[in-house]
């Protein structure tokens, strides 16, 4: 691989105590996979994942957080790994081995989830009884002083086990409401004994924890993850200054690296979502580095791009780029960055599909990387095709492009047909109207364009496939993949009586239809809401959203549901839920509202954004014209980006 000279600082070797890291990149244990057994033992699925992580090219790799106590008070996720007994060690030895074999430093995170723990127990422990602000968690019990001592010892024992398994060091985390964070924060620590009150008293638990772990570890390094900002200060949490006082305290006790993090799970604002621009939180790392110049600082919150990380290291803002989700999205990110092939990187788009699934107690997956969590599964491997075929993919949206790229990588000959003048399908229009961060979603389209070019996949734009066109290409292809997406189902609405009043949401999103000043959007799902928000925010339109359901945003991923409902409120967009559309025409829409009363909503434009139906006509038309016929994405069942990408990949991997 040709090494570029553009990211010199990121890829330079770095000393860390007695250890040498081959570069300044640390894989961060951003969240647990939930791939393991309910008793905390590690599964083959987890081992498959860690083998991929080990080979990402990071200089330091942090294995996901293991809970340290036998009761499971520290257990946050049903399938989290445990490290409270030597019986767990054989699998940890394998993981440490994978990391070392790949030439990286192996760090094991010890995660006592505190306020978010006790998932199997029906209660959790924290310094004081302060209920959580989200319904997912268990009711709190106050930890006694005796339990504090036991808990600290459990952490130290877990650290000893990690080293015994072959890890080079350990990490404890005071991130987003975990036990250490609940002691550090005055939001949750209301104790009146020596563990509560002043910053130094609240930090006592952390200091005792550091001391105990360092005692068993000797000169093996200990990392502490600490909030640079909890984003909880308006609710009585720590101020930013207090967060940095705690960092000083950790440094005083000889911690070997501080990983600066941002936000609690319960914070009323985003920290890592798509609505936060990349680089937004860098100042916190810079402040930590300035405050503690002799302590290595790692940072990576909402910093997905290695080129930005390079600049930060060059500017002395931190020492190690801590990266997790971008490597879940593309485990080859580092190699591609090093080779100057950033255009081929599948970027983490901050959809937080990973976290959404964890909070549904499911294993995490990734929107843009279908292989995550399926590394051991033959159906997800890209293996050479035994018999290369000529494949026509009809539709250049995410499902079609993913299928085309995967099939091409297996050795098939692929041509993509797209009726529009550009690739991207409905995602392109959706992305343009996304208030969170259009660039993230557009990066998916850019990736497909770049990969098509890199793999020499022919794309025939402005080409509609129908039976006539197909007759002219008979026997040219062995396989047809229908990836034609879905369209708004106009049959769900009354026939408009005023020509031109009703337009299709996908046409508006794709700039094929213009709207008047007064707009009524029929449908409060992700398409309708995205358009409504964009029309109000970007174009100053007066918008009303009408939906037949009780609540808007029914089809929105949990991680963004709150975001859409907040935007609707912040932008002052009126909604009519539990409403039935009675008529469209005469300068507006007549509805029966939730109270059963008829209401007329004046409109210059009415946008149909109701449920979609799949574009399946080609399945029937092509059935007797080609050897193999498959479908994927919305053309099967209209869903969303994640399912489109995963469908396309799976199909491409098995044709």
């Amino acid at each position: 691989m040709a090494q570029t000279t553009t990211l010199k600082r990121l890829f330079e070797p770095a000393s860390w105590g007695k250890l040498q890291s081959r570069n300044r990149i640390k894989y961060g244990a951003c969240c647990v996979s939930n791939y393991n057994n309910r008793d905390g033992t590690i599964t083959i699925r987890e081992l498959g994942r860690t083998q991929v992580i080990a080979k990402t090219g990071c200089g330091i790799i942090t294995n996901q957080g293991a809970y340290p106590d036998p009761l499971g008070e520290g257990k946050a996720y049903f399938r989290q790994v445990a490290l409270h007994d030597d019986r767990f060690l054989p699998e940890f030895e394998k993981i440490a081995g994978y990391i070392h074999d790949a030439g990286a430093i192996a760090i094991q995170q010890i995660l006592h989830a505190g306020r978010y723990g006790g998932i199997d127990l029906g209660y959790c422990i924290q310094p004081s009884i302060v209920p959580q602000t989200l319904p997912h968690f268990r009711p709190p019990r106050e930890i006694t002083k005796e339990q504090i001592k036991v808990t600290i010892q459990q952490h130290a024992d877990a650290a000893r086990r990690a080293l015994k398994a072959g890890f080079d060091g350990t990490e404890v985390t005071s991130f987003m409401g975990y036990l250490l964070a609940t002691f550090n924060s005055k939001f949750t620590n209301r104790r009146t004994d020596e563990y509560g009150g002043s910053v130094r008293n609240r930090g006592r638990f952390m200091c005792e924890l550091i001391d105990a772990i360092k005692q068993v570890q000797g000169d093996a390094p200990l990392v502490v993850r600490l909030n640079g900002n909890e984003l909880m200060d308006r609710w009585g949490g720590n101020t930013e200054d207090e967060c940095f006082e705690l960092m000083e305290l950790a440094a005083e006790h000889g911690v070997d690296m501080i990983s600066v993090t941002v936000g609690w799970q319960e914070a009323p604002e985003s920290s890592i979502g798509r609505d936060i621009s990349p680089g937004y939180w860098n100042r916190l790392a810079a402040r930590a580095k300035k405050l503690l110049p002799d302590t290595p600082i790692a940072f990576g919150n909402r910093l997905p791009d290695p080129r930005m990380a390079e600049k930060c290291i060059e500017d002395g803002e931190f020492d190690f780029w801590e990266v997790c989700r971008p490597l879940l999205a593309d485990p080859d990110l580092i190699r591609k960055a090093q080779a100057g092939r950033m255009g081929e990187v599948k970027r983490c788009i901050g959809s937080l599909n990973c976290l959404s699934r964890l909070f549904r107690d499911l294993p995490y997956t990734c929107t843009v990387n279908p292989q995550l969590g399926h590394e051991y599964d033959p159906a997800y491997q890209i293996t050479p095709a035994l018999a290369p075929k000529k494949i026509m993919v009809i539709g250049a949206g995410p499902a079609g492009m993913e299928c085309a790229i995967t099939a091409k990588r297996r050795g098939h000959d692929v041509v993509v047909f797209e009726r529009a003048s550009a690739i991207g399908g409905s995602l392109a229009g959706y992305a343009k109207n996304d208030l969170a961060n259009s660039d993230d979603l557009l990066s998916v389209v850019d990736y497909y364009r770049n990969m098509a070019e890199a793999l020499n996949i022919e794309i025939r734009l402005n080409t509609t496939i129908d039976t006539k066109k197909m007759r002219g290409m008979l026997h040219e292809f062995d396989v047809a993949v229908v990836a034609t997406g879905a369209r708004i189902d106009g049959m769900l609405l009354p026939e408009p009586t005023q020509p031109g009043l009703l337009v299709d949401a996908l046409d508006v999103a794709g700039d094929h239809s213009r709207t008047g000043q007064r707009v009524v959007v029929l449908g409060g799902g992700k398409i309708g809401l995205t358009l409504a928000e964009s029309l109000k925010h970007n174009y100053g339109r007066e918008v009303t959203v009408v939906d037949s359901e009780k609540r808007i945003a029914g089809d929105v991923m949990p991680s963004f549901k709150w975001r859409h409902t907040a935007w609707i409120e912040e932008l002052g967009i009126p909604t009519r839920t539990s409403a039935k559309v009675l008529a469209i025409g005469d300068g507006g829409v007549k509805i029966r509202n939730a109270e059963g009363a008829e209401e007329f909503l004046p409109a210059d434009t009415v946008i149909a954004a109701v449920a979609r139906r799949p574009n399946q006509e080609l399945f029937h038309e092509l059935e007797w014209m080609i050897d193999e016929l498959h479908g994927c994405g919305d053309s099967l069942v209209p869903r969303g980006l994640t399912q489109a990408i995963h469908d396309g990949f799976r199909l491409g991997a098995r044709i």
Binding site: G122, I129, V130, P131, Q132, T133, L134, P135, H136, F137, R138, P139, R234, W235, G236, G263, Q265, E266, A267, P268, E269, S270, S271, I272, G273, L352, L355, S356, L358, F359, R360, K550, R551, P558, S559, K561, W562, T565, A566, E569, E570, S578, A594
Partner: protein
Amino acid sequence: MSGRGESTWSDLDGWHSLLAREHRLFEPMVEGARVGIVARADADAGHGDLLAWSRTRDGMRVERRPFHGFADCDVGVLFVAQDGALEALHARIDDNALGAMKLQLRDGSMLLYVIAPKKQLLDDGYEDFLEALGLAFLGACR
């Protein structure tokens, strides 16, 4: 109770009319389901007054109850109002007060504490109300 508009807390009829207007959000709640609101100072002190919105067979009832701290407040969810927050809501009691509450939850002037376990909240019908306030029911995932 220091520093807060007493008339806001004692306007039980006013709050009742708001809840009656928003009855659809509370209809799924089982009889006995209860939402509480306390002032931040009372929450910090661990005692004071609680404004309770309780589901009864005939609809929502509004009353004042003693507040004895988080562990013993007998509500499913508890809102803690920063100084002036409830007064700001009360000023919109005939308008979109719950919409304003949603924004307060976003800007931190109102804080929600979840007292009952998730399963109980689901079983007892709190989901419509909480989702209407923009609260992510199964984790914030931000």
